[in-house]
């Protein structure tokens, strides 16, 4: 009885986390769709989104909205730089090498952030003044709703990009059929370059939306990046819908699991779900465009 009473609250908390994981997962998927690269610096973009916004508000004394837009701009530039300095010079290397390179870039970004912005955690104020909503005995912070809205807004934009624009289609073609893309005169390097811009922008947006819920510190990108990656794999590596689905499944499962087991095992639940998915349906719930479905 008592358990039934608190389950709705767990669901709400899980949905909030689901939205966060989805938002991060969308960044992973964007890069994967354009170049098949797994960009482990995605979590760092999320961290930098919050960090740079905080910097503009507190140190430059700009208004919230302007700081947020500037931060997105700065992080997108960093995304472009990451491509120019790390990915492009390694264009002839194999995927595992690129993966390690992004991992190195992620360490570099988090350590530099510690040097520039300091190591103490930082918080942003919530977007709306009155933050607490109460619906039928279940409390919900308005900020969680904003995160939810942001997730679906980004999904919508990405859907438009990949289905209704030449640019989006060219990006996708350069990963799914490199030879075909080359023959059509699509510059694959340019497409990857642009994809890094898009994914760092999504990351920064995620960071700005979730920092008011928690806080941001130089090492907070790692875990959130990892969870976003897991979400993308669970849902189906390379599918926008899969990223969203995976994110929500992970968020809700983690949150609900705590109703039954001690909270210390929460992170374990994420990896357990990942293992189960990899055992029984390696291409993810919605299937992955990068995996030969005949093999599985």
């Amino acid at each position: 009885m008592e358990l039934l009473h608190i389950i709705p609250q767990f669901l709400i908390s899980g949905l909030t986390f689901g939205a966060i994981y989805s938002l991060v997962a969308l960044g992973f998927v964007t890069i994967a769709r354009a170049s098949q690269i797994i960009n482990f610096a995605q979590g760092e973009f999320v961290m930098l989104g919050g960090m740079v916004t905080f910097f503009f508000i507190k140190n430059v004394h700009l208004p919230y909205l302007l700081s947020a837009f500037l931060a997105i701009g700065v992080v997108i530039c960093l995304g472009f730089l990451l491509h120019l300095l790390v990915i492009y010079p390694l264009r002839k290397a194999s995927l595992p090498i690129l993966l390690l390179a992004t991992l190195g870039a992620s360490l570099f970004l988090s350590s530099s952030s510690a040097l520039f912005f300091g190591t103490l955690p930082k918080a942003l104020p919530p977007f709306s003044g009155k933050d607490l909503l109460e619906i039928g005995g279940v409390s919900l912070s308005a900020q969680s709703l904003f995160v939810l809205i942001a997730t679906f807004f980004v999904l919508f934009l990405l859907y438009i990009l990949s289905h209704y624009t030449h640019l989006g289609k060219a990006m996708e073609a350069s990963s799914t059929d490199p030879l075909g893309a080359d023959l059509c005169g699509i510059s694959r390097h340019l497409m990857t370059f642009l994809a890094f811009g898009v994914c760092s922008g999504i990351g920064a947006l995620a960071g700005i939306f979730i920092t008011p819920l928690f806080y941001v510190s130089y090492h907070s990108g790692t875990l959130i990046g990892l969870k976003g990656f897991i979400s993308a794999v669970i849902g189906g590596w390379g599918k926008y819908g899969g990223a969203i689905l995976g994110g929500f499944i992970l968020g809700v499962a983690e949150s609900l699991s705590i109703a039954f087991i001690p909270a210390g095992y929460k992170d374990g639940v994420a990896f357990l779900i990942l293992l189960l998915i990899l055992y029984f349906r390696p291409k993810g719930i919605l299937g992955s465009p990068f995996m030969d479905s005949r093999r599985w």
Partner: protein, 394 residues
């Protein structure tokens, strides 16, 4: 000719040995400092380092102690137990280093304490000891900050003064938070409080405690809990408060003395309003009693700190000030040569040293310097720390 050359060499050697012995006379007191200068606590330890440097420069400008200057040798342990141990070992190998200050954090101290015990060198640790370490009765380790016993006693006083009957404790999963919770339960129940320790804990790295708090919500409603004790330190403190208020629970929140760090309020924002905790004196030094010696020491130190660094001093800077003060005080009391052994004995015999945090007294059975009298009740109000008083409980 040859004779004069020979005598010249002799004179030269004699002069050299004289100058060597003279410089040995003037060679500094070397202190090893083993801090988390990088990693999550980097900014906190930077404050601590700045405070120690400020104090050492002041002492050296006055001509040092017994005519010899102090010298700090900094090593960074990067918040890793392995590097903390390596630094500690390195310092013990330098015969001129007679004392090691650091690490800062609770989780690193066990390692360096063990090395200090083996190598027979004094180790001053900033964070408080916990029950397990204290019961080992190590001879060479000393702790500066208020320990779990006195903080728990003071918090029980606060609960009694506020007439709370039932308190729910939500503690972090590290040894210090655990013993803080246990002592609070023990002392509280002796005084007739009903203390529930939640089976749910949280980790230092958790960024959201909502699920754990949701599980506690029915207990709070069923048992009619009067107050909630967030037994934790660092960023989890404000996170717990934020998540707690986001669930719409309105009961008062109690905190530990680690809530006195300035960044806590910035991080928690409005959720921190009304949080009460047993705080260190530097947190509210301008509101201390006029006859409290800590007040004038803090005012004087704060002035010098502002002149040098441009920001107000805080609890952490106060620890740095007190560490150097304690070292100076002990060296002055050493009779004869300052060695690792004589310094330890002098430090252990410190009685009533006046620092920014209050009065430090050590003894063979007491390696935590401060006592319950060195804590005051603090409430967060309007984004500031405010001292609160309860007649009969000061």
């Amino acid at each position: 000719m040859r004779k004069s050359a020979l005598s010249f060499i002799f004179i030269f050697i004699f002069a050299l040995s004289l100058s060597l012995s003279y410089s040995a006379e003037k060679s500094p007191y070397k202190i090893g400092v083993n801090f988390e200068l990088t990693g999550p606590w980097a900014e906190i330890t930077k404050t601590l380092r700045n405070a120690m440097v400020l104090e050492v420069e002041r002492i050296n400008q006055r001509g040092g102690i017994n005519g010899k200057p102090l010298e700090l040798i900094f090593e960074d342990n990067g918040f890793e137990a392995g590097r903390a141990a390596a630094n500690m070992t390195k310092f013990t190998k330098d015969p001129e280093v007679f004392l090691v200050v650091g690490p800062f954090e609770d989780t690193l101290q066990a390692t360096t304490r063990a090395i200090a015990e083996r190598e027979k060198i004094t180790n001053i640790i900033v964070c408080p000891s916990n029950r397990v370490l204290r019961e080992m009765k190590q001879r060479w380790a000393f702790n500066i900050a208020h320990n779990d016993i006195i903080v728990s006693e003071k918090l029980v006083d606060l609960s009694l003064a506020r007439k709370y009957k039932k308190i729910l404790v939500f503690h972090a999963a590290h040894p210090l938070a655990q013993t803080l919770a246990e002592y609070y339960k023990r002392f509280g129940e002796e005084k007739g409080l009903k203390v529930f320790i939640s089976p749910e804990t949280h980790k230092h790295t958790d960024i959201d405690m909502t699920p754990q708090l949701i599980k506690m919500k029915p207990i709070i409603e069923k048992e009619k809990i009067d107050a909630f004790y967030a037994c934790t330190s660092g960023p989890p403190g404000p996170i717990v408060c934020k998540n707690f208020r986001a669930l719409g629970i309105k009961i008062p929140i109690l905190g530990t003395h680690a809530f006195g760090f300035g960044f806590i309020i910035a991080l928690g924002g409005e959720a921190m309003e009304g949080v009460e905790f047993p705080g260190a004196k530097p947190v509210v030094f301008d509101q201390l009693d006029e006859n409290d010696p800590a007040k004038s020491i803090n005012i004087e130190f704060d002035k010098r700190w502002r002149e040098r660094y441009g920001t107000p001093s805080d609890q952490i800077a106060g620890y740095g000030h007190d560490i150097i003060g304690l070292i100076e005080d002990s060296i002055k009391r050493v009779k004869g040569k300052v060695t690792r052994e004589t310094f330890r004995d002098a430090l252990e015999n410190t009685k009533g040293f006046k620092g920014t945090h209050g009065l430090y007294s050590f003894g063979p059975a007491e390696h935590d310097g401060l006592s319950k009298k060195d804590l005051v009740f603090v409430r967060i109000e309007g984004g500031k720390f405010k001292r609160i008083r309860f007649p009969g409980f000061e």
